[in-house]
Symmetry: C2
Subunit: 224 residues, 2 copies
DNA sequence: GCTTGTTTAATACAATTGTTTAAAACGGTG
DNA sequence: CACCGTTTTAAACAATTGTATTAAACAAGC
């Protein structure tokens, strides 16, 4: 007797998430959402005013789920920065490539990244910028403060770009490789391992570059 | 007397390119295209059958323009592979981030990458796979054949990912950085330079990894 | 000049969209 | 039971879409 009467608002929010994520704002229809939520067609306008307001609330919901779904692990004072960076990348890839029941939130957030609306600014402030700031601190630990700020940000972008690639261009990757090749060498764990190794090498090289330019002559070990 | 009578077909193709690129297939309307082309509404169906056929022909046109717009430079036998890789990256970034009058073709192709339709398979075969094969040969020159094939492909994906990032998430980058910061350190040339340095360091490290694992024990079986 | 095939034009059509409306159903409260 | 505010329902509305239709304009050949 307690669950048969669920709030219509909640039913709408739950039903709208996957639909918006799959179809996008424009192609998603109020009729399909209401049908999936098993409520009357007029309910969206009754409870949310219009379709766009419903969308904004769904985005907010997706943001909360995205954080709680794949949280960063706890670190102690002497956790090495390389370990932190690995955790950070793992978390990012998990959030981006996560599959399963709740993956609609990832898709929806990615849609906002690819084609920002007014909701994206909210995501930047509440989700992206804090997450990037964490990576920035890690890189500061690894690189030291001789490397200028914008160079760290470029590295963060390069890492995030690789994670994003497999989410965004997954269809292309499937078309480029055979499907058996993809299943062999492109599961989530191997993708993570490659991104980490690739990026860590580049970062370490950046550090050496600034080290050697500081010492100038004595260091003969610049890696390239 | 010669130019006042342009083919209606061509007018439609030229007008449809920017519209499809800006709005996407679904949101682009036949009415807007016909209005921009200054032809009658029924012309699309008369010359192309339906909207989708027009779209396919526009994609084909975009592919041709994309290649001719930013071609790869000519190489001689003794062009060093690092130079080739730089040319390759420069070409890819130019094709992806290219602005100006003809940039609608880039946008349109990127739309196909992000959400592949049947037209994408054509793009893979005619545009992406040949271009990736070139990079694969370059990396083979740099890395040698001790590095397995899929590792080269992972590197290519990582490079392409970084190029794609600034095209795909340009709006996000603008939101994350201040606009003045973006204009300072994120113009095309600096993006290219960073991607090159970042990726080349990672690739060289990969080479050293396989070199050392080869030398340290004569048996070549101890990869994992 | 008339005929014939091709192109252009204006309009109509059927389907789908978000939104509104007005009445019915519901749930307490006196 | 009667009343009243809230919620739900079915239907309608206005706008927009791709496409079809039908007739007019045109060009070319005889």
């Amino acid at each position: 007797m307690s669950t048969i009467k669920i709030n219509v608002r909640e039913k709408l929010l739950e039903a709208a998430g996957p639909v918006f994520s799959e179809k996008g704002f424009e192609k998603a229809t109020v009729r399909e959402i209401c049908q999936k939520a098993d409520v009357n067609l007029a309910s969206v306008n009754y409870y949310f005013g219009d379709k766009e307001q419903l969308y904004l609330e769904v985005i907010c919901l997706a943001k909360q789920m995205g954080v709680s779904r794949a949280p960063l692990p706890e670190w102690t004072e002497n956790t090495p920065p390389e370990q932190k960076l690995e955790d950070w990348v793992v978390t990012l890839v998990r959030r981006m490539l996560g599959t399963g029941e709740l993956s609609w939130s990832n898709h929806l957030i990615m849609r906002e990244v690819l084609r920002p609306t007014q909701a994206c600014e909210h995501l930047v402030q509440e989700l992206f910028r804090p997450f990037v700031n964490i990576a920035d601190k890690i890189l500061l630990e690894i690189l030291g403060d001789d490397v200028p700020d914008y160079r760290r940000m470029q590295c963060i972008f390069s890492i995030a770009a690789q994670c994003q690639f497999y989410r965004v261009s997954g269809g292309l990757v499937t078309l480029m490789l055979g499907q058996e090749e993809q299943k062999l060498h492109y599961n989530t764990e191997q993708i993570i391992e490659h991104i980490l190794q690739f990026s860590l090498a580049a970062i370490k090289n950046l550090k050496h570059e600034y080290l050697s330019s500081e010492i100038e002559s004595s260091s003969s070990l610049n890696r390239i």
